[in-house]
């Protein structure tokens, strides 16, 4: 009896082993799926080559470069005044913010300082382009997750911010307003009251987004615990901006770096979140948008009077030297490293854009998630294609 049962047991073990072998041989292999370059979730032409096991992502590689326009090279054959026109096109939804670090770096090399009023107006426009940029993200995150309506609210209210920017600069997408030593023009009449009203609209929009998305159980189910980036990984990959602050790092260049912009003269708050997941990134950006509207209000209240342009020569020749200035742009840390040989144009410009560093983490954070989560994570990391391929 025992012999039989032993035999049976051996037969059973053998059959199990055989079945295990069969299962190994029947491994169906992984599917390679190209998300992009033409895909609605990539905000342009980013390609992410993913290797899928069913719906599970085994491996993901971001492949940028489909929209490279060679701005770093183009700056070498432009004068300083022409370059602000180019750099507008880097982060095209937060356009004015691109000019600020470049102009600040050039000003440092020339050792000129813009008058206080110019700095304040610069900061106001800087924060408004942040609002224009992130409000689009707030609506777009809904679209990524399948909620169609918030993005239309975003476009509706963002329109007012763009109108205000246009009223000052004359351009909705490409303001080209910042000059070395100051600004092109002063604010138009009645602009301050209108802008305050516009900021009120944006705060209402933030409340609306909070009602529509943040408190929505489906939204929370899709975002909480998805794409968690721990603090050390976030620092290791060189994330910046809201992505870093959502991982619990209290780092904001507006506050932490000495800069001529008058952030130290008003009272404001840096928002952080400790979770590091997609929800935290969304939450931090939402709070930042609201904070930016408050910053604009406070700056408008304390706006000093005076000239808006320092004394600069008619033909700008920047003395030989090197300077790097980075500011807290809507997407993260954006910096310009300018090497000048004393000519009318820079010898070499290195542009550090936040999105390029922020998407480096994609291959780390996308490993082992489901295909729908890929979209959530890409959406919450929030990159602008022009900012990756400049």
């Amino acid at each position: 009896m025992t012999a039989t049962s032993d035999q049976q047991r051996h037969a059973y073990v053998a059959s199990q082993a055989a079945e295990a072998r069969v299962n190994v041989e029947l491994d169906t292999g992984d599917m390679i799926l190209n998300i992009g370059p033409q895909h609605p979730a990539t905000h342009g032409t980013l390609r992410i080559a993913t290797q899928l096991d069913g719906e599970l992502v085994v491996k993901a590689d971001p492949i940028p470069g489909y929209m490279h326009r060679g701005y770093e090279k183009l700056t070498e054959v432009r004068t300083y005044r022409q370059i602000t026109t180019l750099v507008n096109r880097i982060d095209w939804v937060g356009n004015f913010a691109n000019e600020v670090p470049f102009v600040l770096a050039a000003e440092r090399l020339m050792e000129v300082e813009a008058p206080p009023r110019a700095q304040w107006i610069r900061t106001i426009l800087f924060e408004m382009s942040r609002i224009a940029n992130i409000s689009l993200f707030l609506g777009d995150m809904g679209v990524q997750l399948g909620a169609l309506t918030p993005v239309f609210f975003a476009f509706r209210d963002r329109e007012r911010v763009l109108n205000q920017i246009e009223a000052v600069t004359g351009g909705r997408f490409h303001p080209n307003f910042d000059r070395i030593g100051g600004l092109k023009d002063d604010l138009p009449k009645g602009w301050i009251a209108e802008t305050k009203d516009c900021m009120e609209t944006m705060r209402n929009f933030c409340d609306e987004v909070e009602d529509l998305l943040l408190g929505n159980p489906v939204f929370q189910a899709r975002c909480r615990g998805i794409g968690v980036i721990p603090t050390d990984v976030a620092l290791g990959y060189g994330l910046s901006g809201a992505n870093l602050r959502a991982s619990g790092v209290d780092w904001d260049l507006r506050r932490d770096v000495d800069s001529p912009l008058p952030y130290d003269q008003i009272d404001w708050k840096v928002w952080t979140h400790t979770d590091g997941d997609s929800f935290a990134r969304f939450w931090v950006r939402l709070q930042e948008t609201r904070e930016a509207t408050l910053i604009v209000d406070k700056l408008l209240d304390g706006l000093p009077s005076g000239p808006i342009m320092a004394k600069v020569p008619r033909i700008i020749k920047v003395p030989a030297g090197e300077a790097y200035i980075s500011t807290e742009n809507p997407l993260g840390e954006m910096g310009y490293y300018i090497v000048s040989k004393g000519d009318v144009g820079p010898f070499r410009v290195k542009i550090r854009t936040p999105s390029f560093n922020n998407i480096a983490i994609v291959s780390w954070v996308l490993r082992g998630v489901f295909v729908p989560d890929v979209i959530t994570i890409l959406g919450s990391l929030y990159f602008v294609l022009g900012d990756i391929d400049r």
Binding site: T149, V371, I375
Partner: protein, 345 residues
């Protein structure tokens, strides 16, 4: 010979069949037209502070006809690697399931194409045919996104078929019939504790109604259950490769089925074409009935599309959990309670 043929052509059976066929063929494009215009074009636009189409016809009411004509003019493109026959057949099967649904829908005391004794059973059965068409489309397109979409759709439609059917069982127990016409009559004659006459079943089947609407939302692959199409991740899912006329078939089927499900729900839970305190055999209900029914259908469709335009979508595994862990137990509990109350009262 000729006399025989003319006799057959003008026989009652042939004439009534021809009329019924024509009605079903006309109604499906018409219903899609109503739903698309009222909800997809206008309600969605107003929710999103837009105007929607305004140019084609008064307030853009002919927009969908313009769109349909545009689709008809487009080139019929097959992907090279597509399984051509299956690819061509898939949208027809999906639309066929919608057509078959309309056969049993009653809109008046005598206005029904065919009052089957097993009406609701038949409706549930043919509605799940669309899963086959969707899976065929997903597989035959030779596209990875379409494949993912097709498989998602198959899993989802099967998972949500169960709560849908189970939610209906409560109504069937209460009405003691499977015939949709019978269910309407049961509601028109129903009294709850001797109060009222012609109360709709939603009064006692509230849970069943909620489960039915949620499951119908998933069957229709509307947000928050629209992962099979998920335009931001699968870029349209199973119908990614379809263009022109074939895409139009999918489009019509989507909204035609939404209309059909809304009408099934209105028959099961809201009393269909009947009105409270009105004798359901009255002849004038044949004229008023369709209007009453349409009002109820539009109300239910509004809920479906309202949710669609507001909510984000769930993930596939969350959706399955929701079906198996929440909807099906709740539906089973509903059946038990309904059975107990039926026996007790």
């Amino acid at each position: 010979m000729i006399a025989d043929l003319s006799f057959w052509i003008f026989s009652d059976y042939a004439v009534s069949t021809a009329i019924k066929l024509a009605v079903v063929m006309l109604i499906i494009p018409l219903t899609s037209l109503i739903l698309v215009y009222v909800f997809l074009f206008k309600m969605m636009a107003f929710m999103q502070s837009r105007l929607g189409p305004m140019e084609a016809g008064p307030h853009g009411s002919l927009q969908l006809i313009a769109e349909a004509l545009k689709f008809l003019q487009k080139e019929d493109i097959h992907p090279d690697n597509a399984d051509k026959h299956v690819f061509a057949l898939a949208p027809i099967i999906v639309l066929m399931s919608t057509f078959l649904l309309y056969v049993v829908l009653p809109v008046g005391p005598d206005l029904v194409v065919e009052d089957l004794d097993t009406g609701i059973f038949y409706a549930m059965a043919v509605s799940s045919l669309s899963a086959l068409g969707v899976l065929m489309a997903g597989w035959a397109s030779a596209n990875k996104y379409a494949l993912l979409g097709g498989l998602r759709a198959a899993g989802q439609l099967i998972a949500y078929e169960l709560p849908l059917v189970l939610a209906v069982v409560g109504v069937v127990i209460q009405a003691e019939t499977l015939s949709l016409q019978g269910i309407v009559h049961a509601q028109a004659n129903w009294e709850i504790f001797g109060i009222g006459s012609g109360m709709p079943f939603i009064v006692t089947q509230g849970i069943g109604f909620a489960i039915f609407m949620v499951a119908a939302q998933a069957e229709l692959t509307q947000t928050p259950f629209d992962m099979p199409v998920a335009e931001t991740e699968l870029v349209g899912g199973f119908h990614i490769e379809y263009t022109g006329f074939r895409f139009l078939l999918f489009f019509m089927a989507e909204f035609g089925t939404a209309f059909a499900f809304a009408s099934i729900a209105s028959v099961l839970f809201l009393g269909g074409w009947s009105l409270p305190f009105v004798d359901p055999t009255a002849n004038w209900l044949n004229i008023v009935g369709p209007g009453v029914m349409l009002a109820k259908i539009l109300f239910l469709s509004m809920i479906i599309f309202w949710v669609r335009f507001t909510y984000p979508r769930l993930r596939e595994d969350q959706l399955q959990k929701f079906a198996w862990k929440l909807l099906i137990p709740a539906a089973l509990a509903n059946i038990v309670f309904t059975g107990v109350f039926k026996v007790a009262f």
